[in-house]
Amino acid sequence: MPKLPRPGAEQNRCAQYNAPDRLRGCTSSERGNPNRGFRTAFITRSELPAGPGRWRTCPPPDVGVSAPSQELLLAGVLLMSACYGIGALSCLLAPWSGRLALGVGHLAALAGGLAGLGVSVAILLGDPGQTLAVPLPDLFPFARLSLVVDSLAAFFVLVISLVAIAAALYGPAYLRAHSPDAAPARQAAQALGLNVFIACMVFVCCAGDALTFLLCWEGMTLASYLLVVSEDRHGENAHAGLLYMVMTHGGTALLLVAFLSLTERAGAFDFTALRAAAGNLDGVTRTTLFFLAFGGFAAKAGAIPLHVWLPRAHPAAPSHVSALMSGVMLKVAIYGMLRFGFDLLAPAAAPLPSSWGWTVLFVGTISAVLGVLYALQQHDLKRLLAFHSVENIGIILIGVGLAMILWRREGAGGALATVALTAALLHIANHAAFKGLLFLAAGSVLARTHVRNMEDLGGLARRMPWTAGLFLLGAVAISALPPLNGFVSEWLTFQALLGGAGHFHGPAGLGIVFSAPMLALTGGLAAACFAKAFGVTFLGRARTPEAEHATEAPPSMIAGMVWLAVLCVALGVAPGYAIRLLDAPTAALLQGPGASAVVTARGPLVLSTALTTSGMDATAISMTMMAALLIALTGVAWVLRRGLRRASQRSAPTWTCGMSPTARFDYTATAFAKPLRLVFAALYRPRREVIRETAGTPYVFRRIHYAGEVVDLAETQIYHRVQRGITALSRSIRARSTGRIYGYIGFVLGALFVTLLLFGVGQR
């Protein structure tokens, strides 16, 4: 058993503020030697920037876990797969009892999620270079399937498992409440679809070769399609599912081209061979392949302008599946981008071509701003949340783009790239948590009221207090307000943008720094949007009988939501520990110092980034301290509010200029969003129709009919034009159809001619 070296004069003392005893005398050890039983620090002492005063920097805290053996991890992965497999097979129980199938399926998904959680945390706390290779049976003669779980994959498996646990807890009660008279076949489909969906997502992230990746990618799409169209909604869902399939398969086609170009050059399918083959590519081919892959992944992630399927498909699915799709499936696409950009296609020792990072940054900024703008005008809770997913994917892409721009640049660029990537990965986890929470809360509203339009709800906070409180928590988190987790990842993104802008001089720097106010704009608009969503849905008076008679959601649904809410709070108040988990992925992907060395160099309670190397103090904030301060101040303010002596309290109707207030007096969602609709009218192109029915004289109105519409700019400018072009083309071809047989034979002859000429003549 190796001994801890005693703390001596030559060693720096670690941060002693709030540090437990075992941190004293911690030392940095060599990279990657598993026999020593220490968790490795990633840079030596001399490389860390020295802080002011008595705050010496310190390596990340030793968690004290011994290195998990490969066999244990392998057993964990097999257990996880077995759980999902059992869950998928539980659909066979449906002929006996649909509810049993549903229950068993979701229980198995829960177990699989817990197993995945354990395995991924074990891998993330381990050696950054450690990968777990899982052998798979040889199904195909031309390629060997394999699973390789490295730290990046482990991180994504962690995110997937966290949301899967919540969805599995939430699912059965939701399906019972939402569609109580569903046929057993439908319930079986739900159980099957959920387990296959989660399992395929996990295996996409763990894929070690192109074939496994693509197979599981397709499986993910098909399972989610099954779940999207599984609820009966008069053909709306069928249309949403169809659009989803078409766009996803378009993206998959691009992916296929990218992958197969690489496999053709490499001669094999596994990622190590692809990496080696990509090492010999020339710049243009490399960039083309990257953009093909980026297009394919962007279609799946829902970046503008490939987002048109998202607002239709996500609301159509059952709410826990929407949480999974929004919170996790979009992130699997980001995983693909990271894998392609930083791992497979990256040049050996040079920075990435600048067009990659700038395109990703640009797409991210546009998606963030337009996503939240369109979300503002939605009145369907789930559609609103779906558009917010577009916005958050934009924020993640901003981080990824920055990391691509800054990676391997000289000077402080390397550390800044780590900050940017940490921001992106942390936002992935954060978004999964709060978007999952929001979708589950929206789902419980939907399950209890069966009403989707928020204008028909209202007053639910008194009837469903838990759901309302958890929704408010999610709303604060997604609006990037301290002290919750949304603020942390946005802060990191801002710091990376600021540092990056300082790094580039000239127009490039201006481009980077312009993303920062755009990001601030999206934060402000998100807050506005959720003030509207929360206020109109939960506050005020109930506007319809369904809202009047709503009751609180069943406890298992609340349990799922509470799980994610606790995650949001934990990630917000103590993000240093989560960043500790991000060490391995960032170190492995960027081949540099891990996340905590750059971001939590002052200990796990403080986030700090050093933007310049001029000896200035690094910017440091502490979410934990701020949370503590807020709690203390809340206590003081509460005492203040109670008054110095007992004061009278009474209740009275809301002031409505003397009239008896009814539900009609409440401010509607359309009215709430109207000022913003007018401010951004250039982007919205709103249309409005007001019809006034008069009774008798033109001065007395019997009824006023107001209809307003906001168009999705991408849809009208791009997709409708493409649609019109294709329709015109097919119409013109149809005109050639004469109905007579000689015409058709003439076509055949012509085609035969052309084919023979093209292919026959060249062969001499």
Partner: protein, 314 residues
């Protein structure tokens, strides 16, 4: 000069800001009155108003949910926590890292969000209208503020306000570059928007159609309203303190003991007074803008801030 502000000093500064916030409002009211050839109320009147509010009983609307009672508490807590991030008496980063300018903006945004939610809670159109308008102005103000903060932070290499002020402390106003002038102009454009004064909002009226911030406070009463009013005073002085830290860091020194703190306090008072005079002048000289003209007004600030950033980088 860079020093460190121990935790006790930070808390003292925070309490100081809360205590003199109403005084600042009183001074602005008095100045406005004088400019408008009125006598005006005493500068200590806001204190008396607050004391009255905290003694009164509460009348709560019957449609409010359980959140309503906690909204004033949370808003006040968030605003005062933002006050802890502003360097008042001495420049320099706090001993234990607390927050930077971005966190300050985030806390103020949290306060605004919770106020809007509280306004929608009681039902009725006034709260909704005030909340809607406030949440329209807020997303337009935040990017410009962000750009102002960034343009100064880029010169200093940090966004933490104490450290930023310490860095700027070495360069007097004569050392301002063109970027600083433009950023300061943008801040001056933003100040009425952030503090809820003419030409963006009218803090004196309670006519439902002309108020943004006041509209959201309509249903609060008694100590709750007292907390909200105190929060708006604190927000005002926090914003002024932010401007002072970003652009006029002269004064706070590393001088030992009480002497240094007294000098810092005097300097701070002087800076705040300058900005207060500006606010009073603007309020007395202009009329309140229509809501849909405010984006154009803020656009001026946006262009100034953007140019400041461009000059800083290029």
């Amino acid at each position: 000069m860079t020093g460190e502000r121990p935790l006790g000093l930070v808390l003292l500064e925070m309490i100081l800001l809360v205590l003199i916030g109403p005084l600042v409002t009183g001074v602005i009211q008095k100045l406005k009155a004088r400019l408008q050839c009125r006598a005006g109320a005493d500068i200590l009147q806001p204190y008396r108003d607050l004391a009255k509010l905290f003694r009164k009983g509460t009348v709560q609307a019957d449609t409010t949910s359980g959140f309503f009672r906690s909204i004033p508490v949370l808003v006040l807590a968030a605003t005062v926590a933002a006050g802890a991030l502003v360097p008042v008496l001495r420049a320099g980063p706090p001993a234990f890292p607390l927050g930077d300018a971005l966190m300050l903006l985030g806390l103020l945004a949290l306060a605004r969000f919770l106020t809007a939610v509280g306004a929608l809670d009681a039902g009725g159109a006034f709260g909704g209208m005030g909340a809607s308008r406030e949440m329209t102005i807020a997303p337009l103000v935040e990017p410009v503020l962000m750009m102002v903060v960034f343009s100064t932070a880029m010169a200093a290499g940090t966004t933490e306000l104490g450290a930023l002020a310490a860095h700027r402390g070495t360069s007097w106003i004569f050392a301002w570059r063109a970027a600083d002038f433009l950023a300061f102009a943008a801040l001056l454009v933003l100040l009425p928007a952030e503090t809820g004064r003419i030409p963006v909002d009218n803090p004196d009226t309670h006519l439902e159609l002309t108020m943004l911030h006041e509209g959201m406070l309509l249903e609060h009463s008694g100590p709750g309203l007292g907390c909200m009013v105190l929060a708006s005073h604190t927000r005002q002085i926090v914003t002024l303190g932010l401007g002072a830290a970003l652009f006029f860091p002269i004064g706070p020194t590393d001088g030992p003991g009480v002497m240094g703190l007294a000098v810092g306090a005097g300097a701070f008072a002087g800076k705040i007074l300058a900005l207060v005079i500006y606010l009073a002048l603007v309020e007395s000289s202009y009329a309140k803008l229509r809501l849909f003209r405010v984006p154009q007004y803020l656009g001026v600030g946006f262009v100034c801030a953007l140019t400041a950033l461009a000059l800083r980088i290029l």
